[in-house]
Amino acid sequence: MNRRQFLKTTAAAASVYPFLGACEQPIRWEKSAYVKAKSSRVAILAADSYANGLRDTILRGIKLFQMDLTGKRVLLKPNLVEFDPKGVINTHAAVIEAAIDSFRSLGAREVIVAEGPGHRRDNEYLLTASGLYDVIREHRVRYVDLNSDDVHLTKLKSSYTNLKELYLPETLYNADLLVSMPKLKTHHWAGVTLSLKNMFGVVPGSVYGWPKNALHWAGINGSIVDINSSLPIPRFAIVDGIVGMEGNGPLQGQAKQGGVLIFGPDLVAVDATAARLMTIEPRQIKYLTHAAEFLGNLGHEEIEQIGEKLDSHQKDFRVIDKFTYLKKLIG
């Protein structure tokens, strides 16, 4: 047994400690949290740049899922964690702009852009520096800072952490659809950061601080699952994989051309597909395996891939040394 195997074994033992003696793995979610379908559809659409035909591609991607958006309030949740003029940290403003246009054209009553940046409190700086301020002003879209929104105490529907409950922003409770819009990135703590991890941004910094360290202390993998099991509205994901990040993500990695946008209503399946596009094995990502117990589908056989073929768009995203084991794809 090498050191990594030893650590994995001891970590696994620690995680089941309260249930020692039980023969089966304990169920750590409420019945009402179970939303996993028999199979899930995920669309991969090619997109080479942030300029040409982006709005048409995003509209086409959303239409593939035939959602009834008439009269709905749609909340777009991009990843806007920090800004580096030389980096590719955030969901590109052009992707958000195209999504605003698309959801409106499909009949949404209101489109809101909302984010609770994880490192910086300074929304005004992040919005103006990233170009998103011009988008929301031009399109007359409401922006909500989820870090300082009014809050509701929400009982968590799963217990992969000891958090039990979290304050969540009121704006979530007043929307009909939450669209997670992450960047395709590797992550130095969690392996990858995609549509599920992007939901860290809905946890209010004014309550939990910057960075949202209370979630790290509770366990980053468990927190991702517990947040996603407990959000009060349906979700959809649009992953900005046109240019992603490899290496020491989510902030200091290097830009990597992905050339795709990924769509779907099952965030676990979307993230699994996004990971495979980075040639990262999703079944080795701890939070994805937990989420696949009840929130969505992870396996190839349970995901119906539509749009482009996965293997024709796979790119070798580099990971930091401790995650080299993620690069062995299964099947």
Partner: protein, 300 residues
């Protein structure tokens, strides 16, 4: 109407009927926004009814243990206790509240990673992700979690302002330890972000707002080389950063350190024309404080 008048009007209009302010107009009152707006209007004079109501909001929200909750709709103690204390620290009639809150502050401290976590890390022989001294304790955002630069700076400043009401030795010990923690987290070349200077071997960059807040907390250490380099870093950052929050805190800091902020005041006005600071109460309040004579509330 000049920018100071326009920002003051926006700020005044945002006051809730309960006397407090929310993060933006229309949101429920919270302690941080109310404390900063209260100080901003007080700094101008002539807003007696508004400041009286705000002072009352703050006084009535104090918890029995001396702390303040984050907002009117939440129970429990919060980091924003430090800002309520700073806001009320000059009020002679609030002495009992200040003493009670000060004692609560002295009891709070950030936590360290547990023995098990350290053991696992040591056994893994993995490269350390972050490089900071976990034994230095300041204040955290939430109970039982790690110390970070912004809450530690607020609490240090609050303790320095009310130290005459508290026993000297515990105040000195906590302040010194908190200052060491802040210096330990300084970015290379000066300045601070939330509290992490590097991940693996990649350096992280400082933020102007946090750098200004930390420098204000460390104002009585201004001769230290870390303060000097961070002050230079702040003035460099201020050239490229446009936001009410960052420029407001920077102006307050420069005033406290005796530096000229005339150019930044012009930039603040230009930014206000462009964005109205997104209507954020704290940015409006800090800009009013920074443009006027608000630095006196943050001096020790």
């Amino acid at each position: 109407m000049n920018m100071l008048e326009a920002a003051t009007t926006l700020l005044s209009r945002g006051q809730n009927s309960d006397g407090g302010w929310g993060s933006v107009a229309g949101k429920g009152s919270n302690t941080e926004a109310t404390a900063l707006a209260f100080l901003a209007l007080r700094s101008l004079g002539g807003h007696d009814i508004a400041t009286q109501k705000a002072g009352q909001w703050l006084a009535e929200r104090q918890n029995p243990d001396g702390s303040w909750p984050l907002s009117g709709m939440m129970k429990g103690s919060s980091w924003s206790t430090a800002l309520a204390l700073i806001a009320l620290s000059d009020s002679a009639d609030q002495r009992d509240r200040i003493v009670k809150a000060g004692n609560w502050v002295l009891e709070q401290e950030g936590s360290k990673p547990g023995i098990l976590a350290n053991l696992i890390l040591a056994l893994s022989f993995e490269k350390k992700i972050v490089h900071l001294n976990e034994d230095l304790i300041g204040w955290s955002w939430t109970p039982h979690s790690f110390s970070w630069v912004e809450p530690t700076s607020y609490f240090i400043l609050a303790l320095k302002k009310i130290k005459s009401h508290l026993p000297a030795k515990p105040v000195q010990e906590r302040v010194e330890q908190g200052e060491l923690m802040i210096y330990d987290r300084m970015c290379e070349g000066g300045g601070w972000n939330y509290g992490n200077a590097a991940v693996y071997d990649d350096r992280l960059w400082p933020y102007p707002d946090i750098t200004a807040i930390a420098l204000i907390a460390l104002q009585d250490r201004r001769e230290r080389k870390e303060n000097q380099s961070s002050l230079r870093a702040l003035t460099d950052m201020a050239q490229n950063t446009g936001s009410g929050l960052a420029l407001g805190w920077t102006l307050l800091c420069l005033s406290i350190y005796g530096q000229d902020g005339a150019e930044l005041k012009k930039r603040l006005e230009q930014q206000f024309v462009k964005t109205k600071f997104l209507g954020e109460t704290k940015a409006l309040a800090l800009s009013v404080l920074g443009l006027g004579s608000g630095a006196r509330y943050f001096r020790v």
